[in-house]
Amino acid sequence: MANRSSFDAPLLQVRELVLHFRTSKGVVQAVDGVDFTLNANEAVVIIGESGCGKSSLAKAILRLLPRNVHRYTGKTFLYGQEVMALSDEEFRRTIRWNRIAMVPQAAMNALNPVLRVGDQVAEPLMIHQGMRKSKALEKAVEMFRLVGVPEDFVHRYAFELSGGMRQRVALAMALVTSPDLIILDEPTSALDVLTQANIMNQLKRIKKEMGMSFILITHDIATSSELADRVAVMYAGQIVEVGDALRFFQEPLHPYAQKLMASVPRLRETKDPEFIVGQPPSLINPPTGCRFADRCHRRFARCAEEPPVIEQHGRLVKCWLYTEDGVNQRDASHSRHQD
């Protein structure tokens, strides 16, 4: 984890990140002005419903872009270094894999079927760091141990492995180059609970023992709390709340985040979960005001305008309720509830 431009700057700062796609029906605003910061040895989880832009955000950070990009703007700083300014070639050579690695969504189904899994884990080292094969294979075995794959599996092919083992191999591939940061896109969503719990244990261990930092993307809110230091909630291409996990899970602020939390079935509580009426808006021509407005139980006149991002006790929330205008609304609705 060398090559840090500034030890004072946070590990990753994402500013005004935008990724729009061109489609036959119009421009899809998959990522639309995303800001967040990640400190070293921290895990931020990005939660949100299907289609809200989580995977697109990961792709935008790693500059893994499809052909139909309409707009790709914003800034990302890695330890203070502006990486969006790098040429594609430089980014590929110095940042992707070496500094920021990713376990893509459904990675376990995307392993190369004709390559032994050990060789696949060794490959990034040979390609991105020019390491000799024998040395790279040694490193691969080390990674297998770290993620809980039996060492002799290095000689096997992907189809000979269970889903859980394949997902661990994908994780080993991301770890092998010793990046500063790993982005995990739905790493356990397709796995059984015991396998899921085992892999989350492994991630916690890697974070603690190696000081690794993570961005964990998932729609599974319960599992997200297994790793989260901070939580960012995404809705319709934007982040609507970011805050410390401890406080977020106790008391989410944004009305969408509150509803989302209330929809999670809980094993240890008997309260019935609720659902959010309606669907997220289309990301082609999304509403100009608050994107959650048509489903929001707290909506008021001001919500027809796009909400600003408000800072409250170190938490960020994109909602009019937390402005001066909204304070009155909040009081009003509280007294209404009490009546």
């Binding site: 419903e49 609970v193 015991l194 396998t195 079935p265 809980r266 609720e274 659902f275």
Partner: protein, 354 residues
């Protein structure tokens, strides 16, 4: 439905079938076991190219349970433990290798093709993946028409009325808006509603739902589970709810069966079993299931490592023994535990309770 109607099976059930779904509760005074599964085994023959027979996959290995009219039961277990094989056998899609299935006291194993056709009208099926469940080139009207046509509902006006009714029941309104839509124009949650409407349209007595919400977002998941529960109550439906997610079973079913490696290792009343799990495997499943809580990040979960065993050569004795923290040497690895009653019909298949 009365016993008389049931006896006549195919020929006059037609009259029964054309009744709108809303007539259901009043025409259903039945009590007792709707479905009985007795020592069921479903083994698949394993063939290796060039070698012929190479053993059996024991997907379901000695499973017994009863399901009463209007009762809900959850079957919980990890992937590959045999949940879908059990369910498909109950649906008549696989033949039992051994053992019996009785539906309204009639032995499914002996059903003729016509009886099977009748049986299919009695049992609705909601499958795991809504995205693969609906034919892409049929619109919602066609999709819901098919089962009615197969069941012999000849009058188009009658069919249309029942289609509308079914869509209203799954809250797809205004109905006109959805009738002409094709699956790709619907969200995952709406697709699953159509699947449910299709499963309900013949007014079945039993609904089998195989992981009906595992592919859906949390908020949609709750919506669909609530819908299923409302239908269950309105029609006094018996439901088999198959899931790997323990956190949803309480909202949905009264009884629960936990499966491991082709066998039921624990069963009982839901609240009792979840708050007082006896089998080490059930305990592990509960330990591994998280509720959203920031404290989770501060601790490791004590779960057994390893993976479920091969069903071709399952471990001798208790199938969980290679992963079990309470393993008793020379007992657990030698003899298969029977079901021990740990109180009020709560059964655990584990030597700890001998």
């Amino acid at each position: 439905m009365t016993q008389a109607t049931a006896d006549i099976k195919i020929d006059t059930t037609r009259d029964e079938r054309v009744k709108p779904a809303s007539d259901a509760p009043s025409t259903r005074p039945e009590q007792g076991a709707l479905l009985s599964v007795r020592n069921l085994r479903v083994w698949f023959e394993l063939r290796r190219f060039g070698f012929g027979h190479a053993g059996y996959v024991r997907a379901v290995d000695d499973v017994s349970f009863d399901l009463n009219y209007g009762e809900t039961i959850a079957i919980v277990g990890e992937s590959g433990c045999g949940k879908s094989s059990l369910m498909k056998t109950i649906l008549g899609l696989h033949r039992p290798t051994e053992g019996e299935i009785y539906f309204e006291n009639r032995r499914l194993n002996d059903f003729s093709r016509r009886e099977m056709q009748w049986y299919r009208t009695q049992v609705g099926y909601v499958q795991q993946d809504p995205y693969g469940a609906l034919p892409p080139f049929m619109n919602v009207r066609r999709i819901l028409q098919e089962p009615l046509i197969i069941a012999g509902v000849k009058d188009p006006a009658e069919r249309e009325a029942r289609i509308r009714k079914a869509l209203e029941e799954v809250k797809m309104t205004p109905v006109e808006e959805f009738l002409p839509k094709f699956p790709h124009m619907l969200s995952g949650g709406q697709q699953q509603r159509v699947v449910i409407a299709r499963a309900m349209i013949l007014n079945p007595k039993l609904l089998v739902a195989d992981e009906p919400v595992s592919m859906l977002d949390a908020s949609v998941r709750v919506e669909i589970l609530r819908l299923l529960r409302a239908l269950q109550q309105a029609h006094n439906l018996a439901v088999i709810y198959i899931t790997h997610d323990l956190s949803t079973v309480r909202y949905f079913s009264r009884r629960i069966m936990v499966m491991y490696a082709g066998q039921v290792v624990e069963q009982g009343e839901v609240n009792d079993l979840l708050s007082n799990p006896k089998h080490p495997y059930t305990q592990a499943l509960i330990e591994a299931t998280s509720d959203p809580d920031a404290a989770n990040a501060m601790k490791f979960r004590e779960v057994p490592s390893g993976e479920p065993p091969s069903l071709v050569r399952p471990p001798a004795g208790c199938r969980f023994h290679p992963r079990c923290a309470y393993f008793i040497a020379d007992v657990c690895d030698k003899e298969t535990p029977p079901d021990f009653d740990v109180g009020q019909g709560h059964l655990a298949r584990c030597w700890l309770y001998r």
